[in-house]
């Protein structure tokens, strides 16, 4: 015991010497202990780091990428309100590309598509590149006093005597009173800790995306946008070969992000084409390609996204000395017409920081004190939206949603607009399309009712 102690002191002093800077700005105690270690400088980690550092905590953020954002990919749009709650007016200085003022939803069947468009003067979301936004958020945390250390891949959470005491990377360990897990969707650390089992295909979707450089003026012209105005466009149906999921098109400052999301539980059984070729089909779709035909692909990538809502959440989001935020907690929402990941992640990081501050005031980062995080989440828009999503899983498993509905919409429109001799009535067109899509009237009404209820 005594020897152990000596060894510990020796090791600590060694680390202490290594860690104390000559200028003495950071004053750490001899245990090489931080108040808070955050794993991952994504939206969740950086938001938490920003809040905690601002409160005066000694915060260490460990990021595996060479720069924050280098490992991150999203559809293309962020909802602003949750971020505004965190950053206030500073958000205006974030790398915002365009404020979304045109929303479009299309049903695709083969080369035909039917669209609903919504235009507005006001905007609640913006487009950006996630690597840029993540860099900005990490810098905000840095300005607030957090220390960001890149190029460090954390490979374990250290759990000892009923609590989390630090993290490890290779032969090194660092310790903290509180560890915040913001590792992202693959959550290898939570697996290592035994808090979750390996991800199942039904719990996640894969997204693949191309960013196509086009030039600012061409985007404004071709998408009918004013300067700094953006479009968010979601497409369903044939565009994913009727695999549950969808395609997206977002306009950035001088580029367009196009891509698709495939629900892996279905994709493993139904995929017929390499996913990159499905993205290429979207790029070359006869009704869409002229929008970016002369553009240049700047980047291509893929990423997983949580899909299962609360079913993917670990049993606990708080342990002694430990909180789970963002994608690692399964805290992302996808209801087809709305995908919310970045703002959700940031907001859960923000709530985790709030809970940590409260717990600290109550006397420490015990599970009891940190549990407030879970109730804060439950009372927030995040959780309410997430639970509403639960039923969407059934809809995914109902082939009618992703196959029959787009076929119905496109079929009806085709019958109405493609005129041979006699002008068809809308009701007749609808019924003809409905029969072609293999939908009974009652079943359709029932699907519609369920969909409306979930939305």
């Amino acid at each position: 015991m005594y020897l152990n102690y000596l060894h510990w002191v020796e090791k600590s002093i060694y680390i202490y010497k290594k860690l104390i800077p000559p200028c003495g700005v950071y004053v750490l105690d001899v245990k090489n202990k931080w108040d808070v270690i955050i794993v991952g400088a994504g939206p969740a980690g950086s938001a938490a780091g920003y809040m905690l550092a601002k409160k005066g905590f000694n915060v260490l953020i460990l990021e595996r990428g060479r720069q924050p954002g280098y490992k991150e990919l999203f559809g293309g749009r962020v909802y602003a309100e949750p971020l505004r709650e965190i950053y206030g007016n500073d958000l205006e200085k974030a790398p915002i590309h365009r404020w979304v003022k045109r929303e479009k939803l299309s049903f695709v069947d083969g080369s035909k598509l039917v669209s609903i468009e919504y235009q507005s003067d006001t905007s609640t979301s913006f487009t950006t590149y996630l690597p840029q936004l993540a860099r900005w958020m990490a810098d905000k945390a840095g300005e607030a006093g957090a220390l960001l250390v890149e190029e460090v891949t954390v490979d374990r959470i250290i759990y000892k005597d009923g609590k989390v005491i630090g993290v490890g990377s290779g032969s090194d360990e660092v310790y903290a009173d509180l560890v915040i897990d913001a590792e992202g969707v693959n959550r290898l650390l939570l697996e290592g800790l035994g808090l979750v089992v390996k991800l199942q295909p039904e719990q996640v979707a894969v997204g693949a995306k191309e960013t196509i450089k086009l030039g600012e003026d061409k985007i404004n012209e071709r998408f009918g946008l004013n300067k700094e105005e953006g479009m968010a466009w979601l497409l369903m149906g044939g565009i994913t070969d009727y695999i549950p999921g969808g395609a997206f098109i977002y306009t950035n400052k001088d580029s367009v992000s196009i891509g698709l999301v495939l629900h892996l539980g279905h994709a493993i059984k139904e995929v017929k084409d390499h996913i990159s070729q499905m993205v290429e089909k979207l790029r070359l779709h006869p009704q869409l390609r002229n929008l970016w035909i002369d553009g240049d692909i700047m980047e291509y990538g893929g990423h997983l996204t949580p899909e299962a809502g609360p079913a993917m959440m670990p049993k606990k989001l708080a342990l002694n000395g430990f909180l789970i935020t963002g994608d690692a907690g399964g805290l992302l929402l996808n209801v087809g017409y709305t995908i919310r990941g970045v703002d959700f992640a940031a907001y859960t990081g923000y709530l985790a920081a709030k809970a940590a501050i409260e717990a600290h005031d109550k006397g420490g980062f015990t599970e009891q004190n940190l549990k407030a995080y879970e109730s804060m989440l439950k009372n927030s828009f995040v959780y309410k939206d997430l639970t509403r999503l639960t039923g969407m899983q059934d809809l995914y498993n109902d082939p009618g949603m992703f196959k029959a509905l787009p076929k119905l919409a496109v079929g009806t429109a085709a019958n109405v607009f493609e005129i041979d001799l006699e002008t068809p009535g809308v009701w007749n067109s609808f019924n003809k399309a409905r029969r072609n899509a293999g939908l009974g009237l009652l079943s359709l009404a029932w699907k519609g009712y369920r969909l409306m209820k979930k939305m």
Binding site: T153, I275, L284
Partner: protein
Amino acid sequence: MSQDQGKTEVKPMKIDDILQRDVWDVDLEPHITVDSSKCEKCPTKPCLYLCPAGCYILAGEKVVFSYEGCVECGTCRVICPMNAITWHYPKSGRGIMYRFT
């Protein structure tokens, strides 16, 4: 490098050509290992279609894996029906470097 490298074609581009747009600092050791003996018994091989970077290709009957172009999404690990994949993140900040995603 050649003059034509910058062209985005108006026909489907192969994944290898699309990936020319991406940047890696490839890790010196593979961060993913695949037990290819298990692949032989795999009936569906979904990795061939769903790995966004096309790291898994079929050569004859065999699944051949290369880690260099991996974008670290984790899809293969989740979908592999044979549990044949040992998956880690690269070290030292290496691997994919996204900029416009």
